[in-house]
């Protein structure tokens, strides 16, 4: 090996080592703010991203208009039918609510599900550039009162949580990101587990650490369990897909298809405040 090659190899080695070290020290901690310089860089580019996102949304709308018009009539009919069936369901559900109120009054039971949130709407202006992670940038920041670890929803269900905040923008870690974990339970069977992201691009999550003895079926609903204190209890997360045993043999895991369309998010809601009484543990009885 000549001196030149050795020198080059040495430089490469130093470069790789320094980068690996930088990677380790910049691993974002859930409790810490994002590195200052990168959040500044993000803020500089944000107005441009905002404009471009708006433009591409309009372009997408125009391009897909003929297709959506074509399907509109068919869809309209289906929706009308659905509204009718949902109306009757609602009446029945109101019955249940009234019954529930009567019974819980009898038991002097503190309501767990009586959840009222202070919501703030935000617009998605950019996404993570790669395919591995799933984060989005929204146009609300600390000036609007956004703080880290606030839960983010869409009308369909849970979206994720705020991980870093700058004055006018903040970043949301979606539930499909491999770094995300949400305490959850299966609504029908009350089986607990953790909903973990798989990959940013897939828009899918999976529920892990499900006790082996619980019997689960595809299509069951997963909601947040309220454990871990980031997400309030009872927010719909998604539906169960295939259930399989974990390699360790102690637990099962299942695919979870989130209710929220994580790949095409446009508007989201941030839970600014959970009003007192919501999500607290049951008492009395």
């Amino acid at each position: 090996m000549s001196w030149a090659t050795a020198k080059r190899l040495f430089c490469l080695f130093v470069l790789v080592a320094v980068t690996l070290w930088a990677m380790h020290i910049t691993v974002p901690d859930a409790a810490e703010q994002a590195p200052v310089e990168s959040s500044r860089l993000r803020d500089v580019l944000a107005p441009m991203q905002k404009g471009l996102t708006w433009l591409s949304r309009q372009a997408h709308f125009v391009v897909s208009l003929p297709v959506s018009m074509y399907r509109a009539a068919e869809r309209n009919q289906a929706l009308e039918q659905e509204v009718a069936s949902l109306k009757s369901q609602l009446v029945r559900q109101n019955e249940y609510i009234l019954e529930n109120q009567r019974l819980s009054a009898l038991l002097a039971y503190k309501q767990v599900m009586e959840q009222e949130y202070d919501l703030m709407a935000a617009s998605v202006i950019a996404r993570d550039p790669g395919n591995w992670f799933a984060t989005v940038k929204i146009n609300r920041g600390s000036r609007d009162g956004v703080q880290e670890n606030m839960a983010v929803l869409s009308p369909e269900g849970l979206v994720g949580r705020v991980v870093s905040v700058s004055p006018s923008y903040s970043e949301v870690l979606l539930i499909s990101d491999p770094r995300s974990g949400v305490g959850a339970l299966v609504q029908e069977t009350r089986t607990p587990g953790i909903v973990e992201g798989t990959l940013g691009g897939s828009g899918m999550a999976r529920m892990i650490h499900i006790p082996k003895n619980s019997v689960l079926e595809e299509g069951q609903t997963v909601v947040t369990s309220g454990l871990g204190s980031v997400f309030p209890k009872g927010i719909p997360v998604g539906t169960l897909g295939k259930v399989r045993d974990e390699p360790t043999g102690l637990f099962q895991s299942a695919e979870v298809k989130p209710f929220a369309n994580l790949e095409k998010l446009e508007e989201v809601f941030i839970i600014m405040n959970v009003l007192p009484g919501a999500g607290s543990s049951p008492e009395g009885g």
Partner: protein, 178 residues
């Protein structure tokens, strides 16, 4: 299809304005975070930064490819926040590999360039996957290979014919100017 003498010589390499490439990369990064969400297939969007790095590496050589890959990757990392170096190292590997391919293969053929983009993107993303596990982010093998690495390589390489001629002419033009 092997070509004994590389068509482009080392001389013109230094004259490709790095600043222009940097501006191009910044513009691409903005596109990547905004517009590309509307052209995704099965949730996968092509990696335009990778495409630019690999094609330039292919035409300019190993050292330039690795350097451009590292710079572009660092830019992307700073921009995405956290894990500074993940993209830098993986794109450096991809750029270097593309440069090696450029020294051995015929550089004027779009089809060959497409193949090189596929292989380099595959390798670069595999490095990314290894680095992810080093930082402690576990992604199941199946998801990593069949939902990201292979689809991204296919999608990105399919875009090669759209821009390869342009980059090629740009590099050649610089050659003539000297």
């Amino acid at each position: 299809m092997f070509f004994p003498e590389p068509v482009l010589h080392r001389k013109e390499v230094k004259d490709v304005p790095f600043l222009i490439l940097l501006l191009l990369l910044a513009g691409t990064l903005i596109l990547q975070t905004t517009v590309l969400d509307y052209v995704d297939v099965l949730g996968i969007k092509p990696d335009l930064i990778m495409l630019i790095v690999v094609l330039n590496g292919f035409l300019l050589g190993t050292r330039e490819g690795a350097f451009l890959g590292y710079t572009a990757g660092i830019l992307e990392d700073l921009f995405a926040g956290g894990y500074i170096g993940l993209n830098a190292l993986s794109k450096m590997a991809a750029g270097y590999l593309a440069g090696m391919a450029g020294l051995r293969l015929f550089r004027e053929n779009t089809l060959i360039a497409t193949g090189v983009v596929f292989i380099s993107s595959f390798a670069g993303n595999s490095v990314y996957y290894i680095l992810l596990s080093i930082v402690g982010i576990k992604v199941p093998y199946f998801y990593a290979f069949f939902r990201v690495i292979i689809p991204v390589a296919v999608y990105t390489s399919l875009l090669t014919p759209l821009i390869f001629r342009r980059i090629f002419r740009f590099v050649q033009l610089k050659d003539r100017d000297i």
